[in-house]
Amino acid sequence: MKGFETRFGVLVFPGTWSDQDCYHVLDKVLGQKVEYVWHKETDLSGFDCVILPGGFSYGDYLRPGAIARFSPVMRAVDELASTGKLVYGICNGFQILCEAGLLPGALMRSRHLQYRCQWVNLRVENDSLPFTNKLRKGQVIRIPISHYEGNYYADQRTLDELESNNQVVFRYCTPDGEITDAANPNGSINNIAGVVNRAGNVLGMMPHPERACEVEVGGTDGCLIFESIIGEVTTRAMGCIKPV
C-alpha cells in the first residue's frame, strides 16, 4: 500500500542509550514514521509498535529493569499490549518487560561474570509471528549482543509452557544452526535469546537487531525483524480499510 508508514514509538527511560540507534534505523534505513517517547508520557495510542530499546535504565541499579517498570509509560505499554498492538523489547527493554511481567522469565548475570559485546548467531524458532514473518524457521541470523545480564532463566513449568507454545523465538546457535553450549554467550537456559508472550504481540530479545541493519556496520539481518513488523502492521492496516 503506497505511502503507508508504520508508526513506531521509541521509549526513552533515564539511562536508555539505544534509542538513537533504533530511531536511526527506522527513520533513515527503513523510512518509517518514528518518534521518541519520554518515560513520563502516559499515552501510546498513536503507535502501531513501541520499542523499548537497550541501555542502562536507572543505571541498572538494583536490577536491570526493576526501576524502569514503574515509569509512568509502562502502564500505557501494558494497555497497548492488551489491544494487540506490538511491543518490542531489545536488551534492557527485554529486561524491563520481564520485570513488568509482560514477558515470563528473568535475565540474570552472564555465567562468565563479564559484560560481552560481540556478534552471535541466532536460530529462528518461530516464523509465524508479527516479528518474524520475513524469516523462516531454522534460519540462522547474525546479530550482536551487548550485555552483562542476559542469562535467561525461567522455572521448569514456565519453560515447558514456553517451549510447547512455541514462545521461544530465537536461540543462540553455531553458524550452522546447531544449539550448543559453546554457542551460548551467557548461559541462557535452553540457549534462549528471545521470547514472545502467549498472545504473540510482545517480543523481548537480548541481541541488538538495530546494530545489524546496514552492510557497513557488519550485517543486515536485523532488518528482517523490523521489516516483519512493518509488513504485519501494513497487512493489518489494509485489512481495516473498507473497500470503496
Binding site: W17, H24, G59, Y115, P144
Partner: protein, 733 residues
Amino acid sequence: MPISKETLDEVALSEDEYNLIVQRLGREPNLVEIGLFGSLWSEHCGYKHSKLLLKMLPHSSPRVLIDPGKENAGAVDIGDGLCIVMKVESHNHPSAIEPYEGAATGVGGIVRDIFTMGARPIALLNSLRFGPLSEPRNRYLFNGVVGGIGGYGNCLGIPDVGGEVYFADTYSANPLVNAMCVGIAEKAKLVSSTAKGAGNLLMLVGADTGRDGLHGASGLASRTFEEERELRPTVQVGNPFLEKLLLEACLELAETDYIVGLQDLGAAGLTSSAIESASKGDSGVVIDVAKVPRREEGMTPYEVMLSESQERMLAIVKKGREDEVRAIFGKYDLRSDIIGYLTDDGIVRIKDGDEVVADVPIAYLTDPPLYKPEGIKPSWIDELQSRNLSGIPDVDGNASSVLLQLLASPNIASKEWIYRQYDHQVMINTLVPPGSDAAVLRVKGTQKGIALVADGNGRYCYLDPYTGGAIAVAEAARNLACSGAEPLAITDCLNFGNPEKPEVYYQLEQCIRGMTEACVKLSVPVISGNVSLYNETRGEPIYPTPVIGMLGLLEDVDCRCTVAFENEGDVVVLIGGGEQTTDVRSGSEYLDLVHGQVAGAPYLDLDLEKRVQQCCLEAIRQDIVNSAHDCSDGGLAVALAESCIAGGIGFVGEWEASGRVDTELFGEGQSRIVLSLSPGKAAELEALAASHNIPIRELGRVKGDRLSIGKRIDLSLADISDAWHNGLERALG
C-alpha cells in the same frame, strides 16, 4: 594564622611558593585560601613544570578551532559545519589505589570534558600500562581497571573503540590509565567554559558534594605516593547513571541560549571549575558554600571547595533564565542549586553564609610560578644505546617458535578479551572495530569518517626520549594512514616521573622536543592534552611514556582500509624501511621478551616517514591496495601474521633473510607498511612508490592456510591464530 609545614605538605606547596603567596597577598593566607592556592598551583591544574615545555608543541592549523588550554578540550573543523572535540587525561594514581573506581572516574572525567563543550561524546579510547601479569597484584589492577572502564563507559552508551595495553616491570607499582574521549558538535553550537557578565549566576548541577577526592589534584596527581591505604579516600566513586543524565541534560541545555558557559567539576572540584571559568572571562566570582548541597554533615568551607565528588557541573546561567535552566535539569530529575554569581572585580570571594572565608584576586591563583629546571641526561642512556647487540644469539632454526612466543606476548596478542567487555558498537558508527591499526567511525549525515588511535612506546622513550617522542607521533599517524585517514590533530598525555629530578626533567624536555619535530614534519597540531608527573614509587620513575591520541579524517569513508589480507593470490609488498644507522632490534619487543634486554638506539627518519605515509594514503584512496598494516611491535613477521589472522587466510613468502634472521623478521625498524594488492595493480603501486621516492619490495603472496616465510617460518593459520587470540587470556591464568 601561621600555616604549618604539614598543611603545606597536604596541599603540595613548597615554602618558597608559600612565601610568594604571602608576598602577593600582602598578608598570611587563611586555610581556605591556602587550599585554593594549593589546588590551582598543583602540577595537575597549574602545569608548573611542563607549561614552558608544552609551548614548543605546534598548536595550530587551519582546522583548529580553539587554542589549547582555553577550553576543556580541543576542537577541529571537519567540514559540513561539524567539528570533532577531543581530549585524553590520566587517572594513574587513583587507579593504582582503587583500580575499578579510579579507572571508572577517569572515564567519567574525560567524558564530562567533552559534553561540557556542547559536543556529544561518540567514542572512548584508552591507553593502559601495567606490570607483568605474572604478578597477582598486577592482575588485580588490570582486572579492576578493565572492569571500571567497562562499567562506566557501557552504562553511558559511548562506544569504546580502541587504545592500547602494555605490560612492563616499570609500571608494576604505578600503572598508567589514560582515558580519551572524542565528541562531535555543530561548529556553531560549541559551548564555552568562559564565565562572563557580572550578575550572571553560578548553578551547581548533579551530585551532592561530599568529602571524596579531597586533595586529588594537589596530593594524588602532583606528587609520588607510597602509602596507598592512607590515600584511598582521595579516590572518588563514580555514578555513571548520574553522568548519563547530566550528559543528556547538558546537551539539551547547549541547544538553548540560557547559559553563557558550562564547566565540569574535575580535579580540585569547585575551586578550579569556578575560578578558571571566571579567570577566562576576566570576571570575579562570589560563591556561598552554605548553598552547596552536601552528602555529609559538618563539612568545612575548605572541604566543600576542594571536594572532587564526581558527576557535578557548573552552569553559568544568564540572569533571569534560571527557571528555564532548572526546568531542563528537572526533566532529568537532576538537582540544581544557585551557589553564587559573577562580579566584575576579578576577585574570588568564598562565603559561608554571611561570613567571608576567602578573598583573593583570581589573577594570583591562576598564575602559578613556572619552573624550568636544568635537565641532566640520565647516565644509562649512553650505556644502553651503545650496548653491543651483535653478541645476542640469532634465532636460527627457532624463528617459528619465537614468532609464536611474540604473538602470544600480552603486548602483542589480541586485546579482544578486553574490548569485548566494552560496548564498541553502540551509536552504530563503528565501521572498523577495535583490532585494526585504527578504529574508523562514520559521521552520520555525511560521506565522511574519522579514524582514531591511541599509541605510545615507553621502551623507545626510555632508550632515547627525543626519538621515542617522535616515534610515538609518527606511529600514531602511520596507523591512521593505514586506515586511509589523513591525520588532523593530536591530544597527548605525557606520563613521566618526578620532574624535580634532573634526569626526569631531561626526559620530559627531550620527549616534547622529539614530539614537536614529528608534529611539525607531519603537520599535525596538538590541540589538547594532559601531563601526569610524579609517576614513580620508591624513587623509581616509570619509563617516560607519552601517549598520543590522534584523530584522522576520511573524506570518503568508503575508502577505508584494514589490516586484513583479503584475496587469495594478492601480492604482498613492503613499502618504506631501507638503510638505518642503528640496529633495528633496538628497544624491540623481541629483545625484551626473548633476551630480557631493553637496549639499543631507536631510529627514525621523519622525511622518509612522511613519504611512506603519503604513499600509503594515496594507494588506499586510489583503491590500489586491499590491506595495509604498519610494522610495529614484533616487526615484519608479526605484521604479516596479524594480517593473515585478520583475513583468515595464509601467506607465502619466498625470500630468505640476507643478514641476521632476527633482525629481518622481528626488528622494529620504523616507517614500514605491509600492503596487499591484486597482481594487476602492482605496477601502479611501484610507480606510486617511485614518485614518493620510497623503497618497495615484494614479500610474497596471500595464499592457503599457512604462514610461511622462506625456510625460516612455517606455521598453520590455526596455530598463529590460537597464539594471538588466546595469549592475553592465558597470561591472565
